[in-house]
């Protein structure tokens, strides 16, 4: 329980100046890291040391550091968000690593997520998928009283299970085909399980899937790697639901 000190670690990290330059691994050593520190706090300390040595700090995406904003995105020792389950990188702690270990840090690997710099990738493709239909078409105001739309407890819970997706992209990074199916299915399920989302359900599934294909994400072959690496444990049963919604929408055209 008490924090220990890791005396020395080697950090092997992907460095890439910008989208058009070629990247390569660099290895840095870092000393005296508390096991109670988060992985990103370790990165902060490393960066401060690099700055003092006149080396450009490592660029990585992060923000809330509470495991909810979905900004952080590192591939650590071959796994999205590192060697722990159900956590984002910001919630990964150094107690998961061993004295003297060499930790390999890479950006998300997917053609649809091009590298911007070092460990930062461009996830705009996710935005475009959601803009293709991931919403209920309702304007502000003029809506009925909330309790006139009853939702069965179980449906609300299932919808919430899917809505918990934070859009981090770990599912795409974990998939050997770089498929975005888990992400898309989470949004489709979130809205399909609620009466408010029914009217547009068919169109939504069709448009979002078409956009996903257009943007260069691969197909789903049901390996389940996405579910394993998802920090929010989004279930692949959502993918089954998406397939059903999609099929129905194709058949009813």
């Amino acid at each position: 329980m008490a924090d220990k000190i890791l005396k020395k670690l080697n950090i092997k990290v992907w460095r890439q100046k910008n989208a058009s330059s070629k990247g390569k691994f660099e290895t840095y050593t870092i000393e005296n890291i508390s096991t109670g520190s988060s992985f990103l706090e370790m990165m902060d300390i490393l960066n401060n040391e690099l700055i003092e040595k006149g080396i450009d700090p490592i660029a990585f995406d992060h923000d809330c550091r509470e495991g909810i904003c979905g900004t952080c995105s590192l591939y650590i020792n071959g796994r999205p968000h590192g060697p722990d389950t159900e956590v984002t990188t910001c919630q990964l702690h150094m107690r998961k690593f061993n004295e003297g270990e060499t930790i390999t840090v890479e950006p998300w690997r997917a053609a649809a997520f091009p590298v911007i710099k070092d460990l930062i990738v461009d996830r705009t493709a996710f935005e475009k998928i959601l803009q293709a239909g991931g919403f209920v078409s309702v304007n502000t105001g003029g809506v009925p009283d909330a309790n006139t739309i009853p939702v069965a407890y179980e449906d609300a819970e299932e919808s919430m299970d899917a809505a918990a997706c934070i859009g981090c992209g770990a599912c795409v990074a974990a998939c050997k085909n770089s498929s975005a199916m888990l992400f898309v299915s989470a949004k489709v399920s979130h809205l399909a399980k609620l009466p408010q989302g029914q009217v547009e359900a068919k169109k939504r599934a069709r448009n979002m899937v078409a956009k996903m294909d257009e943007l260069g994400f691969g197909g789903c072959t049901n390996t389940g790697a996405c579910e394993v690496e998802c920090p929010k444990s989004i279930s692949i049963t959502n993918i089954a639901r998406l397939n059903r919604e999609y099929l129905v929408s194709r058949l009813s055209r």
Binding site: D61, C69, D84, H93, E127, N147, V151, Y153
Partner: protein
């Protein structure tokens, strides 16, 4: 006569907003098409405003520093959102929500604004449900509610422990719909660095493309700032790492008054600081206080043993535990408001009863609730929070009590705005946490989400029309105008200056130093001597910063250190203004304990005779002292009384 005109409508409290809406101007659909609005920040306030304005027909440009609007810090709010729906038939009402909010804010908020907030709160829930926000439900299919700190009714709507995330996703979905229709141009990974004024009116902004480093000009008929709070001035806070006060500070430098800057909220249930490698604090939802009991040992020797790690919490029998909130505040118990709970925790720890190695933590214990309700019920209610706690601390809260300590959480102060949410610069609006208006000196739980969405969905879309109705003859703003050129030159000059210092210390070094001064002297307990000292210390840090900061990387590339440097430069200025404001306010109020203003028992003592005002600071120039203007707070509908939760 003050130069501030709050534009609070005449008439009875309950009729002010409807009368005002009937009287303010409306822009015709044909003219809305010709008008452009810039919205900076895309959290609950910004996203809901941008979506609503675009739905109305305005051309909207929205900006955020994150890679997606979905990542705004509103997403981290856990517990819930209040609304005066009275679905539980427990005698809730608009007036009761208004009253609780005014009282919870220690009578330092505007009556009219708070009443309007309570009045539109039911519409927010209707709106979010229509958008598909998966709120918690009862088995009959209707919406569920829970109670929250500082309140005796159940009026809080929630989506597990992720309410902020779900509400933001609702607003983000509405925003996405407008982006896809071409009504909103979205600029992600862009940071506003200045606001541009032409003939005294806000006419656009200067922003930096954070990927390419390019500085660009954007014109609009009105500018809305929705950039959240400045809590990161303390370095360690519950704010997201990128949350900053820079946009609001640029508004201040362009003539928008800063109101009540010394008011920041201290949240009682954060995971305590450990060691010196920490970058930020993590909040545990206040909803935990519904079932968790807060305690420290009764005997000091037990506390010392806990601090040394010689015994564990379960070694201390019930009769030796001091449930100090239940002891001091029997009617509210563990559900007292945030400021009361925070101050009480600090008091116990300062007296030597803290329970972690640093002596800066108290227990939040679920043993009693588990005994009463069973582990499954507790897991269903708080499972994800318990899991998060265990991931961070490596302690299982089902077996051992959680350790918590107060932390900086939310900015009560912010840009001064009138009833229309317009700052003292015409055409420049400020909404959500970025403005000062609705929370006074303290915020009740579940009211921040309410304000962000109220402003964005239901207030600004009406009030901005009143201003824009007079702008319909103004053609598209020309960004080649000399005012834009000058602002761009200023921004570029400032970035180059920072970059060319090439000193020896990192940005974080200065930020941590500033944070320490802020916590020690401008934090939960303050006195005049300490505040004066803080002002001098901040000046020294600033001087050192501008001489010795080291900004690596390039100006024309993605450069997080450059971004941070600009924000910390502004935090140094904001910190000084906070200390000045705190020095002026010689009263204890909300979470802010002014040592010179205490009752005989050492409780916080408000001074209504002298301080029933909003302090509004006017920028006078870089090396000039700012001028203090006062907006007197007039209470016609509530009687100012000492807050009691006993």
């Amino acid at each position: 006569m003050s130069i501030l005109n709050s534009k609070i409508p005449e008439g009875p409290l309950a009729e002010k907003w409807s009368k005002h809406k009937a009287n303010i101007k409306v822009v015709s659909p044909a003219n809305k098409r010709k008008l452009e609005v810039i919205v900076v920040g895309t959290g609950l306030g910004g996203a809901s405003a941008a979506a609503s304005l675009a739905e109305l027909g305005y051309n909207v440009k929205a900006f955020c520093y994150q890679d997606s609007p979905r990542r705004a810090h509103s997403i981290a709010a856990q517990g819930g959102i209040n609304a005066a729906k009275n679905y539980q038939n427990d005698n809730d009402s608009v007036f009761r929500l208004f009253y609780d909010t005014i009282k919870g804010g220690d009578y330092r908020a505007r009556e009219a604004n708070v009443y309007r907030l309570a009045e539109v709160s039911p519409n927010i829930i209707d709106q979010c449900v229509a958008q598909g926000v998966p709120f918690g439900r009862e088995y009959g299919g209707l919406l569920a509610n829970r109670s929250f700190g500082g309140v005796l009714v159940s009026r809080t709507f929630y989506a597990r422990g992720q309410t902020g995330q779900q509400l933001l996703l609702g607003a983000y979905q509405a925003l996405n719909r407008q982006i896809s229709k071409g009504n909103v141009e979205m600029y992600s990974r862009h940071e506003m660095l200045d606001v541009v004024k032409i003939d005294g009116k806000a006419r656009g902004i200067i922003a930096r493309d954070l990927v390419s480093g390019e500085i660009k000009r954007y014109g609009a008929h009105a500018v809305v700032v929705a950039t959240g709070g400045y809590g990161n001035v303390f370095f360690l806070s519950t704010n997201a790492m990128g949350s900053n006060g820079s946009a609001a500070w640029q508004c201040y430098k362009k003539g928008a008054f800063m109101a009540n800057p010394c008011f920041v909220q201290i949240h009682p249930t954060c995971i305590p600081v450990h060691g010196d490698q920490q970058s930020k604090l993590t909040l545990m939802s206040e909803s935990l206080r519904n079932d968790g009991r807060v305690w420290v040992p009764k005997k000091k020797e037990d506390a010392v043993k806990l601090q040394k790690g010689e015994i564990g919490p379960n070694d201390i029998p019930d009769e030796d535990r001091d449930f100090y909130l239940e002891r001091r505040y029997p009617s509210y118990g563990n559900l007292v408001p945030r400021d009361v709970a925070s101050r009480a925790a600090k008091e116990r720890c300062d007296a030597g009863f803290g329970v972690n190695a640093e002596g800066k933590a108290v227990f939040l214990d679920f043993k009693y609730a588990i005994d009463r309700l069973g582990k499954d019920v507790i897991a269903a209610r708080y499972g994800n929070l318990f899991q998060m706690y265990e991931k961070i601390t490596d302690v299982d809260p089902y077996k051992n009590p959680m350790m918590i300590y107060p932390a900086i959480h939310y900015s009560m102060g912010g840009t001064w705005v009138d009833y229309n949410l317009m700052t003292s610069v015409p055409g420049l609006y400020s909404i959500g946490e970025a403005n000062f208006s609705d929370h006074g000196a303290n915020r009740l739980g579940a009211s921040a989400l309410m304000q962000g969405l109220a402003d964005g969905y239901f207030v600004l879309p009406y009030t901005i029309g009143d201003y824009l109705a007079d702008e319909i003859m103004i053609p598209k703003i020309d960004t080649d105008a000399p005012e834009f050129e000058e602002a761009e030159k200023e921004v570029t000059g400032r970035l180059e200056k920072l970059y060319n210092i090439k000193g020896s210390k990192s940005v974080d070094y200065f930020h941590k130093k500033l944070g320490q001064v802020m916590w020690d002297y401008v934090g939960m307990a303050r006195n005049a001597e300490g505040l004066k000292k803080a002002i001098e210390m901040i000046k020294e840090i600033r001087e050192d910063f501008w001489k010795d900061v080291k900004v690596p990387g390039d100006l024309d590339n993605l450069n997080p250190e450059l971004e941070k440097a600009g924000r910390v430069a502004d935090f140094l200025d904001i910190g000084e203004l906070m200390a000045r404001d705190a020095l002026d306010r010689n009263e204890s109020c909300g979470g802010h304990f002014r040592e010179e203003s205490a009752t005989e028992e050492g409780e916080a003592k408000r001074n209504d005779e002298k301080f029933t005002y909003v302090s509004c600071w006017e920028y006078k120039g870089e090396s000039e002292e700012p001028t203090l203007h006062k907006e007197d707070l007039v209470f016609e509908n509530v009687k100012l009384t000492q807050r009691s939760y006993k």
